[in-house]
Each structure stands twice: as C-alpha cells, then as structure tokens.
C-alpha cells in the first residue's frame, strides 16, 4: 500500500459516511503497531464505531487495545464536547437570567457548527500538545477536519481582531467565542496539518461517480488551504472473479471500472491504492489484519445462504403520497445516498399515475434533468444550481444591504458572507419560490435544507416570526415556508439512507435535528440495497446478509414507515429504469 510507505507522524482519513474509513484507519493503526511503532488511534466521528470495529469498549479516554501491543485508542465524543461547551456558556447564567432567555441561548448553540468546532478544539490539542502525543510514533485519525473548520480558524481579519480585542464582536466566528483560550494552539495545529513531513491526508472513496466527485471536492478544499500532501484509497472494489458469477455482480464490476476510468483529473494525479471488497465482515482484529494485505484470500464459493428480505417498496409509499393529489415531497439525507435518483423515481412514479408533478433538483451533473425533461406526460423538471444561487445571494446582499458601506465595511460584510450557512440559506430561498406550487400539484425536491438550517430558520426565526407578526396584525391568513414544512398534510419528508451502520446513524441524527425544528419525517427509504436485489454471487450475498440488521434497525427503531429500494444492474437513468426502483422486491429473473 502506497499510503503506508514512510508514513509520517499524523495520518488523517477522510471521506463521506459508509466508505469504510473507520475500518481502514483501524487496519492502518494495527499494521503500524505490529511493525513495532507506538500508535494512537483517534476517532472524531460523532457516530464513531472504532470500538465496535476493534471489538472493545473505548469511549472518551485513552484506552489500550489488549490484543495489539503498542496500540492505544481514543474516541473524541464531539457531541459530548459540544455539550460541555454549551454547559460552560449557559451553566453560570442558569437561574440568573430568565428561563426563556437561557433556552434561546441553548438553541442558538445547538447547531452543527458548535459540534464541529468543539471536536476540532479537542483534536488540535492532540496535534500540538507534546505531552499527550510524545509517547507515540504515529497518530492515526479516522476523521479529518473539514475545509470549512480550518477556514474558520484561518479567517485572518476576524480571527486576529477577535482575539486581540478579547471580545466577541468579530466576524462570523460563532461558536469559537467560547474557545478563545489558545490562539497559538490553533495556529500550530493548522501548521502541523499543512506540513507534509508531519501529516498525510488520505481520501477514502468508493468506485462511484458521485463518491469520486465528492472526494475531488474535498481534495480541492483541503489543498486550497495548504493541505496538499494527499493520497487516495478506492475501497471496496468488487473483484473481477465475482463478475463471472451473476449478472448483478458483472454490472457492478463494469460500473466500478467505468467510474475509475472517468475519475476527475485532480484525483488521478494522487498516489492511489485499491482495496478489494473482502469476503468477510470488517469487524475484529483478524479481519482488520487482512484488509490491507496485498494478497486476497481465496473466495469460498459456497456457504452463504440467499437472503429473503421482505420489505415495503417505494411504490407502496407512493400509494400513500398520491392520495392527497398534491403536496410537497422532500428527500433529505447525507451526500451520496442517492437523493436525486430517488426524487426522480418518486416523481416518475407519481406522474405514471397521471398526477401533475414538478421535480426540482440541485444535482450538479443535472443529467437527470436532461434525461427526463419533456420525456413524460404530467412531469416538469427544473434545476437549481447551489453555487449560482449562493453567488446570487451574496451579490444581492452586497448590492442591497451593503450599498452604503465604505470599503472597510464592505470587506467585513464580504467576509461574513463566506460563512458556510449562506449556501443553505440561498438554496432554501430558491426552493421557497417553488414550494408555493405544491398547493395544486406535487412538488418533489431532491435537496432539502438540512435540520441545522431549519433550526436556524426556526430558532432565530427572523423570517417566519416577522411574517407571522405582520400578518397577524392585519388578521390575514398566511403560510410561511416553515409552517408548510411542519404541516404533515402538506409536506412529506423522506429520509434517504443506505443499509450500513454509519449512514443509518447519520440519518437518525438528521431525524433528531428535524424533530427539534418541529418536522416529523414521514418515511425512511433505504437505497441501493444489495439484499433487495437478491444476488447470487457469494460476496454480494454476504453483503446482503450484513444489511439485514440495519434494515431491521430502521424498521423497528427509527422509522414510522419505510421502503427498500434495490441496487439495480443498470445506472438508474431514464424513465423506465427509474420506474424499476419503485417496483416490489422480487427474485430476479
């Protein structure tokens, strides 16, 4: 493996949920420790399952892994760190300020930003505090800081002004205000991250177009702030031998190879390792020891039973959606779970029943919009470009609100407009214009605002409350977008996930966020299910079996209603193939 050659002191693994970065980070740590190095393995993932993968209890403290000498593990609990931060801020004023005020403060500090920065605060200590890390030759992190976090810490004007004044009146630093203790520590951490002698960043992806595009985006973001020393791991590649066994495996193999061939150029330039899909579950030390081995063990062709998954199909959900005759359907979920495809599948299935549908997508590739446009009766398609919307929003604010400012004032405003919140707000505003149509037809959206944005809308509530107050005064009837989203008669939120541990946990977190914003998700959709595809190839059967526990969790613990969508042989593009996604789960012909 190239990424292991002359490994530096700090190794970071980054990639979206479900690509297998935890397994790879654990396998790396084990390999280094068994080569005689002293290794600290750190997870900063809110949904960390390092302990589960290693088969031990870890938690928020330094824990030796008994079976591997020289390996120590630590799970930084970002939620707990954020809670501690909130308590630090709010605790002293509880009972001193009115309860309503205290509650408002807590809500304001419940955003994703607080969690992210609290976690960053914890691990900058590990990057810079010699006392903790001196004992180790390598520190392996299973989650890298995002470009957004590092950029926040680097905002030059805001940061220095803020700290020199020792006050909270700087720029959009938000939750950093309570973490002002160590400017030198943040500086040193950012420097350590940018130093290729000390730090190596490993992007983990799957051989899928969307995953590789996302890896390319992360690459660009991190390179732009000086983290240029990067490696790429393509994980979970289906071995060629499998392709001979059944048509689904053959199709997956061909699709993965095509995705690799079409990989963005920036990724092609990076040193790359391919890790084949393994015929065993990646839990426990024995499995992890083999993950990065150069030789693949021989596949057993027998022994894995076919799975018999019985679950509702997307078509069953659409039956219930169709009853109202109109309304808003929003698909929410993390990047890469297939929101766009499923939005199109729901839209096509509704239109097939003769119902009027407007599908609106923010898919950057936009090939769905191209494929579908005008090709089906009752269906119209429109596209929202998040980057264009964000730029338009920024220019609009600068032109209107910033019109009378002097150069200095404009610079301040421009800097605040670089806040990551602006994209979500801009996209939400674009969607708000379309939402109104849902009174007379179906409006299906693939990129909905996240729970965090909705919370922002609700908690700060500027728009919603302003409108309510003005119209209440006039005695008028009105509906704000927020009220529409909270009304389950008008809006159905579909949470999209994959049947894997991390994506299910992430979807559950999103559900909790939505509930806090007063929105109850209507259903969960498990996408790309291997189990629902009922494969014959042994490796795929094994994966199908691993999925069953996750499907069970969704069905019993998380969702009010759910559906399972099978992994298809062909890329689900075009009306006919999209209709297949909604079809009931059956044995393939």
């Amino acid at each position: 493996m190239k990424f292991l050659e002359s490994a530096p002191r700090f190794l970071f693994f980054t990639g979206k949920g479900g690509v297998g970065k935890t397994s790879i980070a654990c396998a790396t740590a084990i390999q280094l420790a068994e080569a005689g190095r002293r290794v600290l393995l750190v997870s900063t993932d809110p949904a960390s399952n390092v302990g589960q993968v290693l088969g031990i209890e870890i938690g928020n403290k330094i824990t030796a892994v008994p079976a591997v000498p020289r390996l120590i593990a630590l799970e930084i609990d970002a939620e707990a760190a954020a809670q501690a931060y909130r308590d630090r801020i709010v605790g002293p004023v509880r009972g001193k300020l009115p309860d309503a005020v205290v509650k408002g403060i807590e809500e304001q500090l419940s955003g994703a930003c607080t969690t992210e920065i609290a976690a960053f605060d914890e691990f900058t200590a590990l990057l810079t505090d010699a006392e903790i890390t001196l004992a180790y030759d390598h520190v392996v992190f299973d989650t890298a800081p995002t470009g957004h976090t590092i950029r926040l810490l680097q905002l030059p004007v805001a940061w220095s002004g803020f700290l020199e004044a020792g006050k909270g009146d700087a720029s959009c630093l938000g939750p950093l205000a309570g973490l002002e203790k160590q400017r030198a520590q943040y500086n040193a951490a950012v420097q350590a991250l940018a130093d290729g002698q000390r730090t190596r960043l490993i992007l983990v992806a799957r051989a899928q177009n969307s995953a590789l595009r996302e890896a390319a985006r992360t690459h660009g973001e991190l390179a732009a702030i000086g983290l240029t020393r990067q490696f790429l791991i393509v994980n979970g590649l289906l071995p060629k031998e499998e392709a001979a066994v059944d048509p689904l495996a053959a199709a997956i193999y061909a699709r993965e190879q095509a995705a690799l061939a079409a990989m963005p150029n920036v990724l092609r330039a990076l040193p790359r390792d391919d890790v084949p899909l393994k015929p065993f579950n990646l839990v426990g030390l024995d499995a992890l020891r083999q993950l990065l081995a150069e030789t693949t063990p021989q596949l057993e062709t027998a022994g894995w039973e076919p799975v018999d998954l019985r679950a509702p199909s997307l078509s069953d959900l659409v039956d219930d959606i169709a009853v109202e005759g109109h309304g808003l359907v929003m698909l929410m979920g993390k990047g890469g779970v297939g929101k766009t495809t499923l939005a199109a599948a729901v839209a096509v299935e509704l239109a097939r029943r003769g119902l009027p549908v407007h599908l609106t997508t923010s898919d950057p590739a936009a090939h769905l919009a191209e494929t579908l446009h005008g090709s089906m009766a009752h269906l119209t398609v429109s596209r929202i470009d998040p980057h264009a919307e964000t730029e338009r929003y920024r220019q609009e604010v600068l032109k209107t609100k910033g019109a009378h400012l002097d150069t200095q004032g404009r610079a301040l405003l421009e800097e605040d407009l670089r806040s990551p919140c602006t994209e979500e707000i801009a996209v939400f505003q674009a969607f708000s214009r379309i939402i109104r149509e849902a009174g007379e037809k179906f409006v299906v959206m693939d990129t909905a605002p996240t729970g965090h944005t909705l919370l922002l809308l609700d908690a700060t509530g500027a728009y919603h409350r302003e409108v309510a107050r003005m119209l209440d005064a006039k005695g008028a009837h009105y509906t704000t977008p927020m009220m529409q989203l909270q009304d389950s008669k008008r809006t159905k939120v579909l949470l999209v996930t994959l049947a894997e541990t991390t994506p299910v946990l992430e979807a559950a977190n999103l559900q909790a966020d939505l509930r806090r914003a007063g929105i109850e998700p209507w259903a969960w959709v498990i996408n790309n299910s291997v189990a629902a595809a009922r494969p014959h190839a042994p490796l795929l059967r094994k994966r199908a079996q691993n999925e069953l526990a996750e499907v069970e969790k969704v069905a019993t613990a998380h969702a009010r209603r759910y559906a399972v969508v099978p992994l298809l042989q062909e890329e689900p593009v075009g009306v006919d193939r999209l209709l297949k996604l909604a079809a009931p789960i059956t044995e393939p012909a």
Partner: protein
C-alpha cells in the same frame, strides 16, 4: 472618553448574514462600530448566545432582560446608563456618545463611502 457597551440578541455573527433574512440594521451597525473604533471610540459588543455572563453580571442589563425579555434587545449602555434600547444607534449617535468627530465625507446618507461613484 465614554465607554459604549452594546448588548446584542443571540446572534450567530455580528452582521447577521448567517440568519435567514439579513438585517440591514445589523450590517450597517457592524460597519459603523468598525469605523468608530478605528477613530478611537471605546465600544464593546456582547452577544447573548456567546457571552451571557456579561448580561447576567450587569444589574442594569439583567433587570432590563427580566422586564422586557430578549425580544427588546439590543440594549446600548453609555458609561453604564441606558442610552438606547430596541434598535441600533446610527453613526452620528455613536460619534456623539464617543466624542468622535465624524468626517463629512463618511457621513450617513452619503453615496460614496470610499466608492468610486462620486
């Protein structure tokens, strides 16, 4: 020199652009504070979401919050006394309180705060 203390509502940032609808008053005020400080004014801002202790520790501010609630913010104290509540001061008011001389070309309502339009 008078000390000006501004007690903001719970904001994510001083210009408020992180919120759903950017408030012109916040944008303008952030720029005015920046300007006044550069001209020697002593101004401190306290964000309710980030420094609630500053609110609780000040008897005037605490009493104000108990009587009028957080909806009545912002509150501006000049040398400890309530000078303004419920809205942000403009540049002229800031300049007067701080004893800063306001240059004519940067005055409020001028079209060209350093821009090439005039």
């Amino acid at each position: 020199m008078m000390t000006i203390k501004v007690f903001d509502p719970a904001l994510c940032c001083s210009t408020g652009v992180c919120g759903v609808d950017t408030d012109q008053a916040l944008v303008t005020f952030a720029a005015d504070v920046d300007w006044a400080k550069k001209n020697g004014a002593q101004i401190e801002r306290f964000n309710l979401a980030q420094q609630p202790m500053a609110f609780a520790d000040n008897a005037t501010v605490k009493g104000f919050l108990e009587r009028s609630g957080q909806e009545a913010l912002p509150l501006i104290l000049v040398d400890g006394d309530i000078a303004l509540a419920g809205r942000y001061p403009d540049r002229t008011e800031l300049a007067r309180w701080a004893g800063v001389k306001e240059p004519v070309e940067a005055a409020q309502g001028s079209c060209c705060g350093g821009s090439p339009c005039c």
